[in-house]
Symmetry: C2
Subunit: 221 residues, 2 copies
Amino acid sequence: MGDDTGVETARAAELNDQSSSGDNRKEVDIYPLSCYYFGSKEAIVFKDETLSDRVKRMKSNFAAYGLRTSVEAVILVELFKHPHILLLQVRNSIFKLPGGRLRPGESDIDGLRRKLSRKLSASDAGDEAEWEVGECLGMWWRHDFETLLYPYLPPNVKKPKECAKLFLVRLPESRKFIVPQNLKLLAVPLCQVHENQKTYGPVISGVPQLLSKFSINIVDT
Amino acid sequence: MGDDTGVETARAAELNDQSSSGDNRKEVDIYPLSCYYFGSKEAIVFKDETLSDRVKRMKSNFAAYGLRTSVEAVILVELFKHPHILLLQVRNSIFKLPGGRLRPGESDIDGLRRKLSRKLSASDAGDEAEWEVGECLGMWWRHDFETLLYPYLPPNVKKPKECAKLFLVRLPESRKFIVPQNLKLLAVPLCQVHENQKTYGPVISGVPQLLSKFSINIVDT
């Protein structure tokens, strides 16, 4: 217990200090992975088979609708007493945050709920409102069709092609995840994601930093 | 003007969407570097001459006071229409955010104001209250005396040795910066800092991400 008390005191001091200094840092409650049920449903159709298809589709969509806005969810669970982030794996290689592109005129929250239901719920569930979309954690910009995403918009980039916004989505104490057969849902420890750009790309590998201002409470159930 | 209008619309859409979706993203007004006056004052004494001195001092302080908490300021100015971050350079090599260690019992805000006045104001200015300390942007943990900082605290780390908290500090439209002779104050573009861990270390190189959720307004003066 001696050691445990040490860190609890440190974390508690943290919390006290937050409330007294009145800034807007917040807590996030996370629940064990075992609180959730995981099932599968029919595969979804991927729109792009190759990178050049993707660029072609982005270009025609940009011509028709302008800036592409995508919304992505940061969803946490607990495993081995460490926060894990839920990632979708496509074709055994690419990792993605659950989310996707907004329809023209759709709000961030409505769009993210729709995407989460499509990728993580039974298709006829109609549970979109059940996704608790919280704070925007960060925004990444694609300066041109074939460039990476950056967390800023330089002055010479007058017409960015995509804006990807990350939102914290808090889970309830239990729920079902129903995932298309051709996607894998994984829980990856924050410590594995941190600075691991090679595997997870610049956006996901920066998520631990974006979360660092939150106090993450592991709830014992 | 054609191109300019494009990006203004993109940025404005961004802003509208924020207010309608009701999340807590915020704006930051930044002013041109030319709005500020820079002067120098007497050198300050550096406590650690070598890395091993530093580790020795951290150990004795930990034994006496427990967890070391340091507070650091993210301060922005505009140059060439791009946000620049103010960094202090020590001995022509190490880059640091302005800030430092809290005294036992001192609040984050009081401590950061004291440190900012010591390193960036005339020593007899008594202008500590003039520093507008805003949101906590992130927290980094030193798991042991000789390890780097990480943006999370794994379950096996029961007694972290240091917690470094980053705060956004908004500048007024003009002010004087009076910097000790043995420190250099630099304005570095966000795009140069981003992912440039080799030069700036893990904490500073991640600042552009932490700022990405804010709308940065360049104010014409």
